[in-house]
């Protein structure tokens, strides 16, 4: 199989839909929030009652432009909506309001890293459109249930060019989109809940061939991991077919995550004629350079840029920079703490290590951690001063700081008697006690097994309940044992 694989180039284009986190829907004032009782976020407009008309949500436009800026797109100076006409029970108007010409953002790219190499995946465009409602097929045997809460919520569709060449690239691409939309605050990027959706267009061709192969659309990819798995399956399926001399049919297939297969969606209508035409009920949108600039200024520093900064200005490793910029909250926290303390590496460690762990344990977002940058800076400082060691700080001091905005690391260490002793008298006593408890090891050490020093330090730490300064202890031990 691997030999066959080498012959082919995989070509992938992705269409990613992101549900915009606005308060209200794209064209009317119903709530756009998720999870409400069925058909409670409805108005005559959502229900497409006779005589109703749409009106565009200003914030949705702003969010679309924000994404366009983040993806290095050209923001259209003149953009308008079009009707995409088709019939489906969860599409109340019998058309979707979308954009098929003059989309709000044109071209652009998304940067991905695969196996250490950086690449810009080219976009075709980003456009705005309203979402359909939900069809629920499994409540009753004879009826499909329609819930129109979601009908009309704002979506941006990010359309790439067929510019990815492996399932891994597709994985990285969707991961990056998720990071971006969450970073700039326009979408919560939750594929499981459907606020981020992905359809893949996959084709293969012999390496060197210029013409694109027949493409297959793969839907129902409900996690980033499944995007990768589904594409891998599909590529293998296609290669097998072609190697067997079979022709690939252009079709839409659905991914079954349990079985890890794709299957053809039957009764899929032939290429639907959507009869697009300009939406006469909506005014076009004009965006001047000033408008775009104003929106640009609302954007925070973008993750890619911060990642580079962290390496170049703060001297962090590429790995640390990447870890810190997985989410905006951790990057922000780093910057705030780095304002107070210049122990950049230490700050990074605290954030990517104990702090993130704390958040995971409490099953909350990093932003919800009740910890101030000053508190971490303070913790780092007392470690640096030798007053406590990292292990005590992370296991005992950190939890005590949580939710106590006025507490400092020093306070807690003092109160809880955690301060390390560098008093040689006390240390000598503990050292003697430790060494006395393992005479054989002492002998081995003196015979040459210098590595055992760590064991002795550990024992001293234990006896001292962590108060022994490990550095000084080590020095004293070395002096004592020779």
């Amino acid at each position: 199989m691997s030999d066959a694989k080498e012959k082919y180039e995989v070509v992938i284009g992705l269409e990613v839909h992101a549900q915009l986190a606005t308060e209200s829907k794209l064209f009317c004032g119903d709530s756009a929030s998720f999870g409400a009782e069925p058909n409670t976020h409805v108005s005559p407009i959502t229900l497409a009652h006779p005589g109703t008309l749409p009106k565009t949500n200003k914030k949705a436009v702003e969010y679309a432009v924000k994404m366009g800026i983040a993806c290095h797109c050209e923001i259209a100076p003149f953009t308008y909506f079009s009707r995409k006409n088709y019939f489906y029970p969860d599409l109340p108007k019998g058309y979707q309001v979308s954009q098929n010409v003059h989309p709000i953002c044109d071209k652009g790219y998304i940067t991905i890293h695969t196996n250490g190499t950086k690449r810009n995946v080219l976009l075709d465009h980003i456009h705005l459109e309203d979402d359909a409602g939900k069809s629920i097929h499994d409540l009753y045997p004879d009826y499909t249930c329609i819930d129109l809460n979601r009908a009309g919520t704002p979506l941006i569709e990010i359309v790439s060019l067929p510019d990815m060449h492996s399932a891994e690239e597709a994985f990285q691409y969707v991961t990056e989109i998720r990071r971006l939309v969450r970073w700039i605050g326009i979408c919560d990027g939750n594929m499981e809940e459907g606020s981020l959706r992905c359809d893949a267009n996959v084709s293969i061709r012999l390496k060197g061939e210029i013409k694109l192969g027949t493409k297959v659309e793969v839907k129902n990819l409900n996690s980033i991991r499944n995007v990768k798995r589904a594409i891998e399956f599909e590529v293998e399926r296609m290669i097998k077919m072609v190697e067997n001399g079979e022709k690939i049919i252009q079709q839409t297939r659905s991914y079954d995550a349990d079985k890890n297969i794709t299957f053809a969606l039957r009764d899929k209508e032939e290429a639907n004629d959507y009869r697009y035409f300009p939406e006469p009920d909506l005014a076009p949108i004009e965006l001047t350079e000033k408008d775009v600039q104003r929106i640009k200024e609302l954007l925070p520093a973008l993750p890619q840029d911060l990642q580079a900064d962290f390496v170049e200005k703060y001297g962090l490793s590429a790995y640390d920079a990447e870890q810190l910029t997985l989410e905006k909250d951790t990057a922000d926290f780093f910057l705030q703490t780095a304002n107070i303390s210049n122990q950049y590496k230490a700050i990074a460690n605290w954030i990517t290590g104990p702090l993130r762990q704390l958040a995971n344990d409490q099953q909350i977002d990093f932003s919800q951690l009740q910890m101030a940058p000053e508190q971490i800076a303070g913790t780092i400082q007392i470690i640096d001063e030798g007053k406590v060691n990292f292990s005590i700080a992370s296991s005992k001091i950190l939890p005590a700081l949580l939710g106590n905005p006025d507490a400092t690391a020093l306070d807690i260490a003092t109160k809880e008697n955690l301060l390390q002793t560098s008093d040689t008298g006390e240390l000598e006593a503990w050292i003697d006690e430790a060494l006395a408890s393992m005479p054989d090891k002492v002998k081995e050490y003196q015979k040459g097994k210098k590595g055992l020093i760590g064991l002795f330090v550990g024992q001293v730490k234990k006896i001292s309940k962590g108060k022994a300064d490990p550095k000084i202890t080590t020095e004293l031990l070395q002096q004592k044992l020779g």
């Binding site: 009652h49 006779p50 005589g51 008309l53 108007k93 019998g94 035409f277 006469p280 005014a283």
Partner: protein, 481 residues
């Protein structure tokens, strides 16, 4: 004995205690009762209207100084204008049982000024037609001559005013559906500029052509209703933010103004135009000239292209606007079982829509479909652009435009042939205003030798309703002399 001639007089009579709203409503209810054969109303809100009249009478007793601009004015609504908690059907079976859950903005504004809605008026199904013969609930008869059509699509609304069944009516005008029936029924019919009146609550036929229009006995009444319903609306993105003039109080302003008026030569010389209409209009032109106005014949080479352009664009928009009538959330649903989704839609829709509506939906799908879009739809959009530019040109040199409203007065039922084109061509003078978005009014100036009325159409630049109304008022005075 109640009688009605104008809203102004009515309001004066009310304030002087010479009549009451209750008396007015009862008068119209009685008339409606005796005129049921006309089939102008699909539903009459008798009890409700009397109740409201009683309330208004009470309010007026207590606070004679703060009555609304349309206090006690009895008004009818075309069956395409939505009135909360009342049935609405667009004269179609596809909306059977539908009860409105919100008010059209225009209706809100009427009610806020004290109007009384007396009923829902018959029309051509989904406003598609020029004779009110396409209603699912039977045709409407012209009150002047019951063997003749009232015009369409707002036939019921026109007849209601013509026959004294209400004081004014709200209709809708997409290609002449207010002006043409006004002409056929001998009353005033006004179509505002596109975007002058909110379309929120007006069942959409062709979104970039539709406007709510007004029927009345005189220009001042139409002007007053326009003043109340016009203006910006938070629910309509296509409504204009041009300030609304005080159309009524301004109507006698500029009474000495002499206008420079254009008339399309090709319109008056068109072979399709009835000879008497032509003569009458030429006579009016002479009369106006003698009053000091300048009337000039202007060449308009696009006349033969406006009807095809109109039908391409309106059927396209309509085919999409009518997709929501699918039996899922409201309206007619097929009773057939065990059908797949596609058949479910087809049966529900075909059982509900009349044949003219289905035809226009098919046409619309055609001109929008891949392969034909450029040749038809885009082409028509380009012609519309040419028309808009030509209109701007004309109004850069002239204040107003006049032309016939119709090619011939109200015809007899069954007289128009089976040829769809003949029917469509009779709209030739009215569709122009909708294509370019300008306001237009039909003035009932004449009577044909066959006994039927017909009128003159006055058109103005966009948002120049003031000028149009002032001039119209003057023209009506000339007639009265």
């Amino acid at each position: 004995m109640f009688s009605f001639s104008s809203i102004e007089e009515y309001l004066r009579d009310l304030l002087h205690g010479r009549t009451t709203c209750k008396e007015a409503v009862q008068y119209f209810l009685d008339n409606i009762s005796s005129a049921q054969h006309l089939n102008a109303f699909l539903e009459v809100y008798g009890a409700e209207a009397l109740q409201r009249a009683a309330e208004l009478d009470q309010q007026r007793q207590e606070n004679p100084n703060s009555i609304g601009k349309l206090h006690g004015v009895v008004i009818g609504l075309k069956d395409v204008i939505i009135y909360k908690n009342h049935k609405l059907s667009a004269a179609s079976k596809v909306l059977e049982g539908y009860e409105a859950v919100y008010n059209a903005t225009a209706v809100e504004r009427l009610l806020a000024e004290g109007a009384i809605v007396i009923g829902r008026q018959n029309c051509d199904e989904f406003a598609m037609g020029s004779s009110n013969e396409n209603s699912a609930f039977g045709k409407v008869l012209n009150a002047k001559d019951n063997t003749r059509v009232p015009g369409g699509s707002s036939g019921g609304s026109a007849v209601a005013v013509q026959a004294g069944l209400c004081m004014v009516s709200l209709g809708s005008d997409t290609g002449g559906s207010v002006r043409q029936p006004a002409d056929f029924c001998g009353i005033v019919g006004l179509k505002p500029s596109y975007g002058r009146v909110s379309r929120y609550g007006l069942i959409a036929y062709a979104s970039s052509f539709d406007q709510i229009g007004i029927f009345g006995h005189n220009v001042a009444d139409a002007a007053l209703v326009l003043e109340v319903v016009a203006g910006e609306d938070e629910f309509d993105s296509t409504v204009s933010n041009e300030p609304v003039g005080s159309y009524v109080s301004n109507i006698k302003s500029n009474s000495d103004k002499k206008y420079k008026i254009a008339c399309f030569r090709q319109a008056l010389e068109h072979p399709i135009l009835d000879a008497e209409i032509k003569t009458s209009i030429f006579n009016t032109i002479e009369k106006l000239k003698s009053e000091g106005h300048e009337i000039e014949m202007v060449d308009f080479d696009y006349l033969d292209y406006i009807v095809p352009t109109y039908y391409i664009l309106t059927t396209a928009e309509a085919s999409s606007n009518l997709s929501r009538f699918d039996g899922v959330r409201y309206g007619h649903r097929t009773k057939e079982k065990n059908v797949d989704l596609s058949a479910f839609y087809k049966k529900s829709r075909s059982e509900g829509f009349g044949i003219e509506v289905q035809k226009r939906i098919m046409l619309g799908s055609f001109v929008l479909s891949a392969g034909y879009f450029d040749a038809y739809f885009t082409k028509a959009q380009k012609v519309r652009q040419l028309l808009k530019k030509a209109t701007k040109e004309i109004f850069s040199q002239y204040d107003l435009l006049i032309m016939p409203t119709v090619t011939a007065p109200a015809f007899r039922f069954g007289e128009k042939s089976e040829d769809p084109i003949e029917m469509y061509l009779s709209d030739i003078y009215t569709v122009f205003a909708n294509l370019v978005g300008i306001p237009a009014i039909s003035l009932p100036l004449y009577q044909h030798s066959n006994g039927m009325p017909f009128g003159l159409q006055v058109l103005a630049p966009m948002f120049k309703e003031d000028e149009m109304l002032q001039f119209s008022d003057k023209v009506m005075e000339i007639k009265a002399l």
